[in-house]
Amino acid sequence: MSAPAVHSLWTTAAEPISKIDAPKIEYGQLSPTLIVIGAAIVGVLVEAFVPRKSRYHVQLFVSVVAMAAAFAAVVALAAGGYGTTKAHIAAMGAIAVDGPSLFLQGVILLTGLIGVFTFAERRLDPAAHGNRVDSFAAQAASVPGSESEQAAVKAGFTTTEAFPLLLFAVGGMLIFPAANDLLTLFVALEVFSLPLYLLCAVARRKRLMSQEAAVKYFLLGAFASAFTLFGIALLYGYAGSVSFATIAQVVDGTVPDVNPALADTMGNDALLLVGAAMVVMGLLFKVGAVPFHMWTPDVYQGAPTPVTGFMAAATKVAAFGALLRLLYVVLPGLRWDWRPVMWGVAIVTMLGGAIVAITQTDIKRMLAYSSIAHAGFILAGVIATTPDGVSSVLFYLAAYSFVTLGAFAVVTLVRDAGGEATHLSKWAGLGRRSPLVAAVFAVFLLAFAGIPLTSGFAGKFAVFKAAAEGGAAPLVVIGVISSAIAAFFYIRVIVLMFFSEPKPEGPTVAVPSPLTMTAIAVGVAVTLVLGVAPQYFLDLAGQAGVFVR
């Protein structure tokens, strides 16, 4: 045999190496995320190098500046038309810079900013050994009640890590609704989930509950993300790619070049359907839809209230953003398959949340269930699958997040010896003691209940209108019924605050620092403005309602 022939038996001629072209990253358009993540890393460095005494202020400064800057960047981008005309896919197809993502990023950043304020509040708890303390543990690592903790308290430690964690979470959330391929989606999911797990665990008071909340949240969250990941795997298997655009094409059958393998998997709809279902399930877990909601009450109750407020607001925004993108960009071709299923989910979520909330006795748990019910309302808007559907959901998310932040901020104010007095019975007669706080909280409750002239009503009307126009009239009817049920327990709290005699040993209302005041004030302002003159924001959401693919 000839030498080359023999040679060719165990070697093959290598292809000449074609040069790898460097990835093209539009830093400008990714700036919001980059700023926040960068600030987070700075925060970590601060923890490492800045002396303990001054960490709090440095961290606060860094976080606020970062959020503000990032928000400014978002506004700039939106003003630059990236939300509408120049919307396109950035970072090699990983990130979509378009209306929804910019709008949601803006909302997330504002909630994050207010979140920072509530995190930084240190006037509510009585000073320990002359050190102002916030609502985070002196030293999360030390066992509550142990000498090491007392030492830490005496030394005036505080968990200033909370700020970088918050920044990481926000960074993840910024990516989540903008993610344009499944991998980015998953990574973003983890990036914002993990810090939240930690934040749940570090309450100063009631640490046992806090840690329990963290464990539950973590295990269930990991469980859910495992499902998501498997779903992603199946979708990848179906389409041979994780890019939203490609998958969408494959689903629609408009993919340009079909190789045999793809042709083979494309034929197998089970892959697609099961995969899609599992990914969607992961997102439903994050928005807290029935039956994936059960972590919500426990985590909301156990976590430090500022964290709860931030989580309740921002997580929903991010997760719904991702859900919208997934359903509207990736799976529109599957509409007729997922819409009925979503119908079911929306119905049980609306009713379940509202009904179970009736018998709650803890204000934080009650708000948790109410958040579940609201997830149901938003789902009704998601199902519309019309441009109106998108914009109405965006508007609802914006309205809802501020109300939630404000409400939880008020919750932090009502305190007794054991910290926050979250048991409803302790709220009796609050309206007599401190009318202003009670009135503010009443405003938030009325907004939750969807009373006209509050943002809650405008949002509810928007999503129901979209749903009705999308042909989901029955959903609207069930929606109003569950709103009626929900109204009952919001009203109950108002009755408690205003019409029942205050208990002698009832809680006191702490006078907060300007930080929390700002948070609450912003909440009220947004609630009323969006309720009375929502047109401008509806326009905003309307313009932002177009996805790029």
């Binding site: 469980f223 499902f227 899609a276 997922w338 299923v341």
Partner: protein, 648 residues
């Protein structure tokens, strides 16, 4: 001239307004203001009457249109008056008798610290009553109709501190309301049938309407008349109405208001003429009532209640006559007028007696009073003779005519009605004689008798001046009271005769009501004679029972009929059992239903949602693994559902 009509109503209305809003500062002169204003409208009445006499019979009707009241689409209600002979008759009767009784009350209510208000109410009544008879459409008539009802309510219940008075007032108003229902339905029927409810158009176009519709309207009007005129079955209130001060009983519950029903029927003559059925029912109602009232009158020992029964019965005569159609209308009105005189006189007499007897009303505690109050005795006696129809006195003419007309209806009906009327005359003679004897003759049973029996708290404040248990000192009443009595007595003696000379009254009313002379199967003379006979019989029996034998101070148990009659022939018990008790049970049960059923459904729903919530809560059992299970199950369902949608 016609512009004066409004003044007829306005004068007393002004009086009412002034007296009721005036406040205490008018207490001193209030009663005179009231009396004068009543007199004013009487004078205006006289003026208009004179003017009317000056015209020919056909163009005597005056109308005055004030303003449009309720203009809505085709529904055009006007405020307008119509003064014709019929109205004029009433105007004179009302304002005349009214003025007299105002005068009388000045004395009678002397000791009552609320006299001003009493006169206010009296004026209010006059205004309403005049409005009733002057209205030119049924809706405005309805206003007066309920207005007199209100005045009667206020006056019956004038002594509100007496629960019995308050109850009687309420009862009167309620029973009347049932009648008013009839009137309002009648008006609605007229509106839907004729598109109007003004006298002129409606009565002119009865010809075009179906008889069924006219019968319906007629019966509804009759229902109204029954309520106002205390005819069976709505008579129950009149007896209790005697709780009011005696002048009220005289004016409202004898002379004027209770006769409004007769006015209504006669006014609606054309409707009844066109509907024999309605007429028949009317006559039956009248006949039944005249017996009913008479029987009740025989059994009562309370002088006012006895007179009330008699009133009921006499109005029965009028309704009967009105039901007879053109042959009766005129006599109905004529009897109405004469009855107005003598019955008012009788009541005033009764009042005068009570005034002298510490407001004792039980005739068994009277007796032999003629010596002590001669004027009262004489006037009361003349009234007595008039009502029993003693030849030559008012009652004789009017009642006799009615009896004739009843026979003249012809056929079996005629005979039945006629004989009923005769029987009524006999009973009338009986009970009136009884009253007369028990009051003014026989031994003086009031001596060493505690007056005002303790269980019956003395009505009139006068009693507070005399000791409640002191022996009464019968005395004649003051001039201000006797003069009206005398005037009325004169009326009750001569009115009838005056009207009958040359059938004046027939000619006078004929243009309005129409008149047809009815020929009784037997000669008029026979009728008159038989009337005399039964009259004598009735009076005789009464004399035998109460004139010859002493009257027991405590009423004997009496026969079954007597006892029934004392209780208004048990119809009060019937009302109590059926309406009052039944109503109470109904409302009670409804309150229960409202609370448990209607409210219960809602609360039940709420409770069930709450229960559901409680059960669903338990799923949230705190174990992370069970949460994981629900997630896993949820995922499974989600996947399965998605696959099912595709049917893979």
């Amino acid at each position: 001239m016609e512009n004066l009509i409004a003044l007829l109503v306005a004068a007393p209305l002004l009086g009412a307004a002034v007296l009721l809003c005036g406040g205490r500062r008018l207490d001193a002169v209030g009663h005179w203001i009231g009396t004068v204003l009543a007199a004013v409208s009487f004078v205006i009445g006289i003026v208009l009457f004179a003017d009317m006499l000056g015209k020919g019979p056909e163009e005597r009707t005056l109308t005055q249109h004030l303003f449009t009241w309720i203009p809505v689409g085709d529904f055009q209600a006007e405020i307008g008056f119509q003064l014709d002979q019929l109205s004029m008759t009433f105007v004179l009767l009302i304002s005349g008798v009214g003025s007299l009784i105002h005068l009388y009350s000045v004395g009678y209510m002397e000791h009552d610290e609320r006299r001003r208000r009493f006169f206010g109410y009296l004026n209010l009544f006059l205004a309403a009553m005049l409005l009733l008879v002057l209205a030119d459409n049924y809706l405005l008539l309805y206003v007066g109709w309920e207005g007199v009802g209100l005045a009667s309510y206020l006056l019956i219940g004038f002594w509100q501190h007496k629960p019995s008075a308050a109850t009687a007032a309420k009862k009167a108003f309620l029973v009347n309301r049932v009648g008013d229902m009839g009137l309002s339905i009648a008006i609605m029927l007229m509106f839907t049938t004729f598109g109007t409810f003004a006298f002129g158009p409606v009565l002119a176009s009865t010809g075009d309407a179906s008889e069924g519709m006219l019968t319906a309207i007629g019966l509804m009007l009759l229902l109204a008349a029954c309520g106002k005129s205390a005819q069976v079955p709505l008579q129950s209130w009149l007896g209790d109405a005697m709780e009011g001060p005696t002048p009220v009983s005289a004016l409202i519950h004898a002379a004027t208001m209770v006769t409004a029903g007769v006015y209504l029927i006669v006014r609606s003559a054309d409707i009844f003429n066109a509907s024999p059925d309605a007429q028949l029912v009317t006559t039956v109602v009248g006949a039944v009532t005249l017996l009913f009232g008479a029987i009740v009158g025989c059994a009562k020992d309370d002088i006012k209640k006895a007179l009330a029964g008699s009133t009921m019965s006499q109005i029965g005569y009028m309704v009967l006559a009105a039901g007879l159609g053109p042959i009766g209308y005129v006599f109905a009105i004529m009897h109405l007028v004469t009855h107005g005189f003598f019955k008012a006189g009788l009541f005033l007499g009764a009042g005068s007696v009570m005034h002298g007897m510490n407001d004792e009303v039980d005739m068994r505690k009277y007796g032999g009073l003629r010596k002590y109050m001669p004027i009262t005795f004489v006037t009361f006696g003349l009234g007595y003779l008039a009502i029993i129809g003693f030849p030559g006195l008012s009652g004789f003419f009017s009642k006799d005519k009615i009896i004739e007309a009843a026979f003249a209806k012809g056929g079996t009906e005629g005979w039945i009605l006629g004989s009923v009327a005769l029987l009524g005359a006999a009973i009338t003679a009986y009970y009136m004689t009884r009253v007369m004897l028990m009051t003014f003759f026989g031994e003086e049973r009031w001596r060493n008798q505690p007056t005002a029996s303790p269980d019956e708290p003395s009505a009139e404040p006068a009693a507070e001046h005399h000791g409640a248990h002191a022996e009464p000192h019968p005395h004649e009443s003051p001039k201000v009271m006797t003069i009206p009595m005398i005037v009325l007595a004169v009326g009750s003696v001569f009115a009838g005769g005056f009207f009958s000379i040359g059938n004046r009254f027939e000619h006078w009313l004929e243009p309005v009501t129409g008149y047809k002379h009815g020929n009784p199967p037997v000669s008029a003379l026979t009728v008159t004679l038989s009337t005399m006979v039964v009259l004598v019989i009735g009076a005789g029996i009464a004399y035998a029972q109460y004139g010859r034998r002493p009257v027991p101070v405590v009423a004997p148990r009496g026969s079954l009929l007597t006892r029934a009659a004392r209780r208004d022939l048990l119809q009060d018990d019937f009302n109590h059992v059926v309406l009052v008790r039944g109503g109470e049970h109904l409302t009670r049960s409804l309150v229960y239903v409202d609370h448990t059923l209607v409210d219960g459904v809602v609360n039940g729903t709420a409770a069930s949602v709450g229960g559901l919530s409680g059960r669903l809560r338990r799923l949230q059992n705190g174990y992370a693994r069970s949460y994981a299970v629900s997630m896993f199950g949820g995922a499974a369902i989600l996947i399965a559902a998605t696959l099912l949608m595709r049917g893979v």
